[in-house]
């Protein structure tokens, strides 16, 4: 039998739910688990709605579920979930209360010792974020745990243009972060994440300093250009629209490769792939559009997902259907409906964990 602990501050708004029969609470939780499944059939949702309406206690119990969901919402982002899991599963967290650490009473931020072996394993859960290749570089660059904030960043779905001190323009796409590190020798931008479009200006300072975009995988130096630099999983992609860019992978001691206008190249710390022609469409985001030309639906949804905080997906049965068109990024749900209509699919909004929703295209 589970004991009742003192009520949580999370229950304050629904304190009256404390009076409901445990059997009703149990049923509410079973419904919660049911609704968290993949592809919940409409009949199940219907039954749940009916259950809620069947008795005031049911509704009160469900209100409590929703109240707590609201409190758990900070945990619902991918990053916060991973951090939360690592912290809550850290081995010391579920030993007995009898321990009294002999160490300093208030460790505080200054005492940042490297995590012990088993904790390092627990924290590996963060690898699921897919940033593993950059992580070592980034944590080495930002070793003191306090110094996280990038100089400029955009939220998911946000775009931002900056004019730098030399007159160069940088446009940040969705979910991007950069640091600007101009000094007497060089004009350096660190691309921490996401995608940026750069239009360089000639250096007004006498030194004629080189303009570089650095990422975990290497540097892309502007040779009088307009170009994009985008971080992907374990690699960086450069697209050149004007002029040329000299790419130097981090671990490559050679002179690097010059990528010309009209070409894109992907590189890892070790190597650069052969440059391939780019499409003008890939910078349609600068004008607030996403453009597809005969793109597979699943690829399109993956790309569209960059601009949405909601998880997007499509049913495997329609994944190979082709999408063409130009769609404004302002309203992602509308894009999905429009695309859905053209490929004969329907948009389904699914309830996910703790109030997160996901949007999925399924056969109509």
């Amino acid at each position: 039998m589970t004991r009742a602990v003192s009520a949580s501050p999370w229950y304050r708004d629904t304190a009256h739910a404390a009076g409901i029969p445990p059997a009703v609470a149990q049923r509410a939780l079973e419904w919660l688990v049911e609704l968290q499944g993949d592809d919940v059939p409409a009949e199940v949702r219907q039954a749940w709605t009916q259950w809620r309406a069947a008795h005031p206690d049911h509704e009160r119990a469900w209100r409590r579920v929703e109240a707590v969901n609201g409190r758990l919402r900070p945990l619902s982002s991918v990053l916060n979930s991973a951090i939360a899991k690592a912290a809550l599963l850290a081995p010391s967290m579920h030993q007995g209360h009898a321990e009294h650490p002999a160490g300093p009473a208030h460790p505080g931020p200054a005492a940042h010792s490297p995590p012990s072996g088993h904790r390092r394993r627990a924290i590996k859960a963060l690898a699921v974020l897919g940033c593993t290749s950059g992580a070592a570089w980034i944590t080495c660059e930002y070793a003191p745990w306090r110094e996280w904030a990038s100089d400029y960043r955009t939220a998911i779905g946000e775009r931002r243009t900056l004019v730098l001190s030399d007159g160069s323009r940088v446009m940040l796409n969705t979910g991007s972060a950069i640091d600007v590190r101009f000094n007497a020798q060089e004009r350096r931008i660190r691309l921490v994440s996401g995608e940026i479009f750069i239009a360089t200006a000639p250096d007004p300072a006498p030194g004629k300093r080189p303009f570089l975009v650095e990422s975990a995988e290497g540097t892309a130096q502007a040779l009088g250009t307009e170009y994009t630099v985008r971080r992907l999983d374990g690699c960086t992609e450069v697209g050149v629209y004007k002029g040329a860019v000299r790419v130097r992978p981090r671990a490559d001691s050679g002179g690097g490769l010059d990528v010309q206008a009209g070409y894109a190249a992907t590189y890892t710390p070790q190597a650069i792939a052969v440059p391939r022609p780019i499409e003008e469409n890939s910078i349609a985001w600068k004008d607030g559009f996403i453009v597809a030309r005969g793109m597979r639906l699943d690829d399109f949804i993956a790309e569209l997902g960059r601009y949405s905080t909601r998880a997007l997906s499509c049913d495997p049965r329609i994944a190979a259907l082709r999408v063409s068109g130009s769609f404004p990024l302002r309203d992602i749900e509308q894009v999905l409906r429009t695309v859905g209509m053209t490929v004969g699919a329907r948009l389904e909004i699914q309830r996910r964990f703790w109030g997160r929703t996901a949007a999925r295209l399924v056969p109509a």
Binding site: V5, V33, L72, P74, H100, W145
Partner: protein, 173 residues
């Protein structure tokens, strides 16, 4: 709500004046730190003031106080351990996606409460809960990862959910 009504603060006042220094000393001996002992002694009395379960008469005040203080100390260590684990996890996160200071504070408070609510659950139950709720794994995936059956996964999840959502009720299973 407290049944003692307005008598209640008086009881705590008496406890305070009679036993506060003693409690501080007791805590100092256990913690090895005077400043922290003072803080936690203070927290103990605050906890009493906001509690609705202080008895109307206390036969053994010191025993009573140490029981309450034990819980305060225990929560304090638990919170410190969690905060340390949290900071280490945060330090491993890619810099660009790290939360703002406000978001960090909220996240930590959420974790502290969640941890408190899940206190005492067996590791496997905790893991099943976290994998499904935080990582969004399906029941089948959780079953696979933990090497247990799907019905057991659901049972474990519901057990943990009982703690999260209805910690103020007693369940029979």
């Amino acid at each position: 709500m407290s049944t003692s009504g307005y008598l209640f603060p008086t009881i705590v006042e008496t406890l305070y004046s009679d036993h506060h220094s003693w409690l501080r000393g007791w805590l100092h001996r256990r913690l090895g730190n005077a400043e922290q002992a003072a803080d936690l002694a203070h927290d103990t009395f605050i906890r009493l003031l906001s509690s609705d379960r202080v008895p109307a008469a206390i036969d053994e005040p010191r025993a009573f106080l140490t029981t309450v203080a034990q819980r305060v100390v225990s929560n304090h260590w638990r919170r410190e351990k969690l905060e340390k684990a949290y900071l280490e996890a945060l330090a491993q996160a890619p810099a660009e996606v790290a939360p703002s200071p406000e978001a960090r504070a909220i996240l930590l408070e959420t974790l502290v409460e969640l941890d408190r609510l899940l206190d005492g659950l067996p590791t496997l139950v905790r893991r099943a809960f976290l994998l499904s709720q935080l990582d969004g794994h399906t029941h089948a995936q959780v079953a696979d990862t933990l090497g247990i059956s799907i019905p057991t996964v659901k049972r474990y999840i519901v057990k943990a959910l009982q703690r999260c959502y209805f910690a103020d009720l007693s369940f029979t299973r």
